[in-house]
Each structure stands twice: as structure tokens, then as C-alpha cells.
């Protein structure tokens, strides 16, 4: 028998007491800063030189439309997010499939493979920055020993982006592998046995049985990674500083510079508001279009 608000009586007090901390947390730490950011986006406010924020008649949003640097940063972020996610899904899937075959020392291998994921992103950036360092880094040294080309990894636009992609894939492919491995573990084995009896093998098993059943988890993992990769800042800050030129100045780096180097809080807030709105729209469409893939096939 269910309880309704009207029948709670004195228990309503307990309801408020028990939910109050969570509500307070969301209001103070999530909602209030977000609303303040939206308000700031409507003002001119340089925290160094302006005493108070000053309403500037949507000028920040007009500036966004004219800002070629912002468009460039958005484009770079989208490219990075898509390519990094694709690489991580492919690597993660390959590793998950390998671990699903129950190789010797599987748990140890899984533990080692997951280590990059638990490292702080700044540490990851520092490690890869050192790996690619032309003077002391082992990667250029390896190229030298193998008589390969002399690549200025972090000083050339194309290779700087590649270096960031490699570092991101190294750090986050383990997360994708973990999610997909978990999905693979709950697949009923009888289906594979029955398919083998019918003559299916290898690629057919994967394409007809495995893939459809883990498609939902692939979409979840990809969705998580795209969201994270789009807002990448730590590794960019450490490894390239947004350079050379602006070739790795992703949107987070752009906003960081506006807010914490130029101290233009009004404009930075406007950019954040616009990006947040665009991401929310993108994810709403993503959830609507692919949400049904998360439901079991027989309930669609």
C-alpha cells in the first residue's frame, strides 16, 4: 500500500529533514553558481578593473557571434572529442573482448590496465609531456634509434593534437574497457553455444550476438567520453598550453584564458552559458534518439 503526501502527517517533517542536506547541497553548490554564471554572462565584469558587474545589454553574446577564436576552439574541441572517443571505444572494446576470453592472470592484467584511469589528469599530462620531450623523452629517442623522422611532437600543430589524443586514449580507454567488460560478462553463454552448434564462428558471433547486446553500453561509454573529452583542459594546459599557435586551444582552454588570464568574467560566463546550452541540447537529442537502445530488445 503506497503512501501519499497527504497521508504522511507528522512524517512530513522527517521527509524535509532527511532531504534538506541533499537539496541544500544542490542549491548551494550546483544551482546557485549556475544562476550566478548566467547572470554574469549579461554583464561587463573584469574582476581586476571593474568594481562591480555592469549590465551590458547582451553585448557578450554579440561578441560570441563575432569571435573567430571561439569558433576555432569549438571546432577543435569537437574534433578532439570525436576522434578520442572513437579511439577509446575501439581500444576499450578490443581489451574487453580479450579479457572476456579469461586469459591467465586476467584480474592482474585488468588491474594494471586500469591504473592510468586513477591517475590525476595533471599527472598524466606531465608524464606524456616528458615522454614526448625532444631532449629527454623516450619517444623521440626511440624514433632516433630506429632512424625515424625527427618529430617535434608538441611543437608542430598536427603532432601536438596527435600527442593529446594518445595521452587521452591511454588515460580513458581503460574506463571504456571496464564498462564493456562488465557488459560482456553478463551475456548468456548458451546463445554462443547454440550459435556454434549452428555453425557460426568468430566474426559472426561477434556481429550477430555480442555487438547487439552490448550496443547500449557502447553508447553509454561513448556518451560519457564525448562529454568529458569535449571539456578537456588539464592535459592541454600541461602539454601544449593551447599551442603551437592556437592549434590545440580547445574550448576549455579558451574559457580558462578569458576567466583567469584576462579576468573577463562576464565574457567567459557568456561562453560557458552558450556551450552549456548547446551541450544540453545535444544530449537531449542523443538521449531521445538512442535511449531506446538502452532498453532490453523485448520491451521496445
Amino acid at each position: 500500500m503506497g503512501m501519499s503526501w497527504a497521508t504522511l502527517g507528522r512524517s512530513r517533517m522527517y521527509f524535509w529533514l532527511l532531504t534538506a542536506p541533499a537539496v541544500l547541497y544542490i542549491v548551494v553548490w550546483r544551482l546557485a553558481p549556475a544562476l550566478y554564471t548566467v547572470w554574469l554572462s549579461l554583464t561587463q565584469y573584469n574582476i581586476v578593473y571593474d568594481a562591480l558587474p555592469r549590465w551590458n545589454h547582451f553585448e557578450n553574446f554579440g561578441r560570441i557571434l563575432r569571435d573567430g577564436g571561439l569558433r576555432g576552439s569549438l571546432s577543435l574541441s569537437v574534433q578532439f572529442a570525436v576522434i578520442a572517443t572513437a579511439a577509446e571505444v575501439l581500444i576499450g572494446l578490443a581489451v574487453a573482448l580479450f579479457l572476456d576470453t579469461d586469459p591467465p592472470g586476467r584480474n592482474l592484467l585488468l588491474g594494471i590496465f586500469l591504473l592510468p584511469m586513477i591517475m590525476a589528469p595533471v599527472v598524466v599530462g606531465t608524464v606524456w609531456s616528458t615522454l614526448f620531450d625532444r631532449t629527454v623523452g623516450p619517444i623521440p629517442y626511440l624514433f632516433q634509434v630506429l632512424r625515424g623522422p625527427d618529430i617535434q611532437w608538441l611543437a608542430t600543430p598536427a603532432t601536438a593534437m596527435l600527442a593529446l589524443l594518445l595521452a587521452d586514449a591511454w588515460e580513458w580507454a581503460p574506463l571504456v574497457a571496464l564498462l564493456l567488460f562488465a557488459a560482456l560478462q553478463v551475456l548468456p553463454r548458451e546463445q554462443f553455444e547454440a550459435a556454434r552448434v549452428d555453425g557460426a564462428a568468430g566474426w559472426q558471433l561477434f556481429r550477430r550476438i555480442t555487438l547487439p547486446q552490448i550496443a547500449g553500453m557502447i553508447i553509454v561509454a561513448a556518451g560519457l567520453r564525448v562529454m568529458d573529452a569535449f571539456l578537456e583542459l588539464d592535459k592541454v594546459f600541461i602539454m601544449t598550453g593551447g599551442g603551437p599557435g592556437t592549434s590545440t586551444q580547445f574550448i576549455s582552454m579558451f574559457v580558462y584564458k578569458q576567466a583567469f588570464q584576462f579576468y573577463e568574467l562576464g565574457y567567459a560566463s557568456a561562453v560557458i552559458t552558450v556551450v552549456l546550452a548547446a551541450l544540453a541540447l545535444a544530449y537531449a537529442m542523443y538521449l531521445r534518439g538512442y535511449g531506446r537502445a538502452l532498453r532490453p530488445a523485448d520491451s521496445r
Binding site: 507528522r10 517533517m13 522527517y14 529533514l17 573584469n46 574582476i47 581586476v48 578593473y49 561578441r63 577564436g69 609531456s129 614526448f132 620531450d133 625532444r134 631532449t135 623523452g137 623521440p140 625527427d150 617535434q152 608538441l154 611543437a155 608542430t156 600543430p157 602539454m239 601544449t240 598550453g241 593551447g242 599551442g243 603551437p244 599557435g245 592556437t246 592549434s247 584564458k257 583567469f260 588570464q261 584576462f262 579576468y263 573577463e264
Partner: protein
């Protein structure tokens, strides 16, 4: 009836939660009785650690101690700014870099030293006439001194005396370039020498085969200020403005002088150590200290903190320091000045005590004590530079500063423009794009010029 105990438990929990912050807030470490504690907000650099140590040694018999809060360099400015805006009164001293002066002064986060020099005694304690103005001008704004000067950071050329005096190298250089190998006086000579000394592993250098590649010049060109901070000296030497003309407020990013400087730098870049675009000053000096460069262009204190230190350097005793070369005649040995100082936090509750103690620690004697803890300190007081003990024990510092005082190089300072960081970032971005080949120098600078004009128009300097 069964609800009453639960009601009391809930009420008790609420009271506990409300009292908890009050209880935590009241637990604060009490200082020793009779001790005045002055707080210092600064970067965790060796020279400031040395400053705190010496200050505490000086302050101990006086019952004064300095309690430092060290933050990464960038964060010091932000924290001082935000704390002053929110009324935080924790600090007494704040570390100041010369480019921060306009911002922190405008935000009223710091108080000028002049405000404390209201009596002859106070003025005598500061000894303003003792400051080397070539170095301290960066800490001045609108006719006031905004921090007690502590550490100058003039940019100079470090060079390998063993290579420059080697007979075989001198002969080979003369044969190739038609003039004697010597400390470069012009940027053309600098380029020639950098080209001459850039060699591959296995080639001969000073009569010995090289175990590693060797570079003509070692520099730090990481994006994020390091690149522009090195390039700006060449920009000024070529007769260009620092991004804009301060008289007309017109950006000049793509002026002929600026373009010439960028083209020069691109050419010089090929003789720098690989990876120069991703290293900061410390990283560059490590390469020089490993004996892999013939010259380095960097802040003097950066070089002094690594190159003469036996634990860190394999070229101890082989490095001397010279003024930067010249390009245009009316800007001899042009450079852009750097200064670091100790400012009084505007909301400090102990301003007078902080001022008096600062004048004591950063006096002639106090500065000498700091130099014992940090030998790479480049002092900003003439009395320290001319002191016999300093001349004897810190020969490199004395020689370098004496050179500056006697030859009076053309010294520019970063303009007090509130949009300076944005203007500099636009230019640096263009320079980085040109260096990496992403754009031609002309396209990069034309693009930068358009962005600078937009910035200046938005700021109201242009119509």
C-alpha cells in the same frame, strides 16, 4: 506518543549540525605570547624562501615572525586580487611582479610605499636614492613606488667562455664569417655565432667529438608567456613597439619592425635546442647546464640559479654574462625590464609594522644576508652591488649589474595597460603560429593586428 523520542532525536541532530561550524571555527592556533606574526603571500621560489628565512632570523630578537603562504606563481596574483575584493584581511605582505602592479593598484589590493614615507625616518629607512632605477622603474606607477624592490631579473646573454676563447673555433669562425669570434654586439653577430656552434653528434667542438647534438643558443619558448617574454627583447631591439604605440594607442603588431623581428626569431629558432617550444626557463637552463649550448638568453637570476651550481651544472666556471646585442642604434642593448618586490597588502591590520620590518629586511645588510641564502639574487640597491663583500663573493652578479649601470642599456617596461595580458596573448599566439609554420609571419601578424585593433576598439582606446 511513540513519535516524541524520534522528534527529540531529530531536534538534537539539528542542534549538533548548527553548533558544529561554530565549534570548528573557534579552534585556531594561537600565536606565542608577545610575537607579532606577519603573513606573506608569495610563490614558492628559492629567493622568497630565502627572504622568509632571513626575515625570521632578523625578526626573532624583535619578536617578529613571518608566516608564508606559498602558491604557484600565477595563483598569487589571483589570490591577492580575489582576497582583497572579498575583504579578506589575512595578509600583510604580497609578492609583486612588475606586470601585476597596474592591476593590483587599480584593484586597491596593495598600498604604495610612498604612503608610508611620511617622515624623514621612514624615508631614510627605505633609502629610495639607493635603488638602481634601471631595475626598479617597473615597480613604479603614476609616480609612486608600489613595492619594496627585492629581485631584479634583467635579461642577459650567457655564453661559454671556453668555446669563445678556443683557438680552433676562433680560427674557423674568422675563416667562415670574416670577423673575429667575440661576444656578439649585434643581432647579426648573434645569428652567425648561433649558426656556427650548432652541430650534430659526432662533429668536432673545441677539438673533441660531440657525444650529443650541440645548439647555438638555448632559450625557453613555451606558450603561456615564456615565448613572448624572451622575444620581447628582440622586438624592442628591432625598433618595434611592445605591441602598440602608447602615444597613439594604435596597435602595431604588423609594423615593418615587428615583422623583421619575427622573421629574425624564426631564423634563430633553427639554432635553438629542439623542444624549446615546450620548456620554461628552468628547462632551458638545464640544457645549457648539461653543456649542450654555446649561448643562452634568459633572465640573469634564472641562469645564475643553475649554471654556476656544481650540483646542477657541468659548465661551472665556463659561463660569463653580457648585455643583449643591439639592432637599431638608438636602442643599444635593448631589453625589457623585470622586477620583483614585496608589497604591503592594502587590508593588512599591521601595515606600519609590516612597512618598518620590510625596510629592515630589504635594507643593504638584509639584502646581503638574503644573497647568502640565495646567491643568484640580483639586487636592486646600488649599495649592495658596490659592497666589497658582494664584489668578492658574487663576481657574476657584480659584473653583470656593473655592466648595466655603466653601459645603460635601453630598457623598456611593460606598459600599464589593463588589457596587456590579452594583447600579449594575441601577439604570442601569432608568433607561435609563425614559429611552428602554421602560418607565414605576414599572415600571422596581420591576423594579430586585426585582433589587437578589435581589442583596443572594444576597450575604448580607438574609435
Amino acid at each position: 506518543m511513540s513519535c516524541q523520542p524520534r522528534y527529540r532525536v531529530a531536534a538534537g541532530l539539528i542542534v549538533l549540525l548548527l553548533l558544529l561550524p561554530a565549534a570548528v571555527g573557534s579552534v585556531s592556533p594561537a600565536g606565542a605570547a608577545g610575537t607579532t606574526t606577519l603573513t606573506f603571500l608569495g610563490p614558492d621560489f628559492d629567493e622568497w624562501i630565502a627572504f622568509v628565512k632571513v626575515a625570521n632570523d632578523i625578526g626573532k630578537p624583535m619578536g617578529i615572525q613571518i608566516k608564508p603562504e606559498y602558491l604557484p606563481w600565477d595563483d598569487v596574483f589571483q589570490k591577492a586580487l580575489i582576497d582583497s575584493k572579498t575583504g579578506v584581511r589575512t595578509w600583510d605582505y604580497v609578492y609583486i611582479y612588475n606586470t601585476w602592479v597596474p592591476g593590483l593598484a587599480a584593484a586597491k589590493a596593495i598600498q604604495p610605499i610612498n604612503d608610508f614615507m611620511t617622515t624623514p625616518e621612514a624615508t631614510n629607512a627605505v633609502q629610495p636614492n639607493d635603488f638602481i632605477t634601471l631595475t626598479t622603474a617597473g615597480l613604479e606607477l603614476n609616480g609612486k613606488l608600489w613595492a619594496m624592490p627585492m629581485l631584479a631579473a634583467p635579461y642577459m646573454l650567457g655564453y661559454r667562455t671556453d668555446l669563445f676563447s678556443d683557438a680552433t673555433e676562433k680560427q674557423a669562425f674568422q675563416a667562415k664569417y670574416g670577423y673575429a669570434l667575440a661576444v656578439p654586439q649585434t643581432y647579426k653577430q648573434l645569428m652567425d655565432i648561433a649558426q656556427f656552434f650548432t652541430r650534430k653528434k659526432g662533429e668536432m667542438l673545441a677539438g673533441r667529438p660531440l657525444n650529443d647534438d650541440f645548439y647555438g643558443i638555448v632559450m625557453a619558448n613555451k606558450r603561456g608567456g615564456f615565448l613572448f617574454h624572451r622575444f620581447e627583447h628582440i622586438l624592442v631591439a628591432f625598433g618595434a613597439d611592445l605591441v602598440y604605440n602608447p602615444k597613439t594607442m594604435q596597435p602595431t603588431a604588423n609594423s615593418p619592425e615587428s615583422l623583421a623581428a619575427v622573421k629574425y626569431y624564426i631564423q634563430l629558432h633553427q639554432y635553438m635546442q629542439p623542444g624549446t617550444d615546450t620548456v620554461t626557463g628552468g628547462g632551458a637552463e638545464r640544457v645549457m647546464a648539461a653543456g649542450r649550448g654555446a649561448m643562452a638568453m634568459d633572465a640573469l637570476d634564472n641562469m645564475l640559479s643553475v649554471l654556476p651550481v656544481s650540483k646542477l651544472s657541468s659548465v661551472v666556471g665556463s659561463i660569463r654574462y653580457a648585455l643583449l646585442p643591439s639592432q637599431v642604434p638608438n636602442r643599444p642593448h635593448a631589453n625589457v625590464g623585470d622586477a620583483n618586490g614585496l608589497a604591503i597588502y592594502a587590508l593588512s591590520q599591521q601595515k606600519d609594522a609590516a612597512f618598518k620590518f620590510a625596510t629592515k629586511v630589504l635594507s643593504t645588510q638584509g639584502t646581503k644576508e638574503i644573497m647568502k641564502e640565495y646567491p643568484a639574487l640580483v639586487p636592486m640597491r646600488a649599495s649592495v652591488v658596490q659592497d666589497l663583500e658582494v664584489r668578492r663573493n658574487y663576481t657574476d652578479v657584480y659584473a653583470a649589474v656593473d655592466l648595466m649601470i655603466k653601459q645603460k642599456p635601453y630598457t623598456a617596461f611593460i606598459p600599464p595597460l589593463k588589457e596587456w595580458v590579452q594583447a600579449m596573448d594575441i601577439y604570442e599566439s601569432a608568433l607561435s603560429a609563425a614559429l611552428s609554420g602554421q602560418q607565414s609571419p605576414e599572415d600571422a601578424l596581420n591576423g594579430a593586428q586585426a585582433k589587437e585593433v578589435e581589442l583596443f576598439t572594444r576597450a575604448g582606446y580607438l574609435r
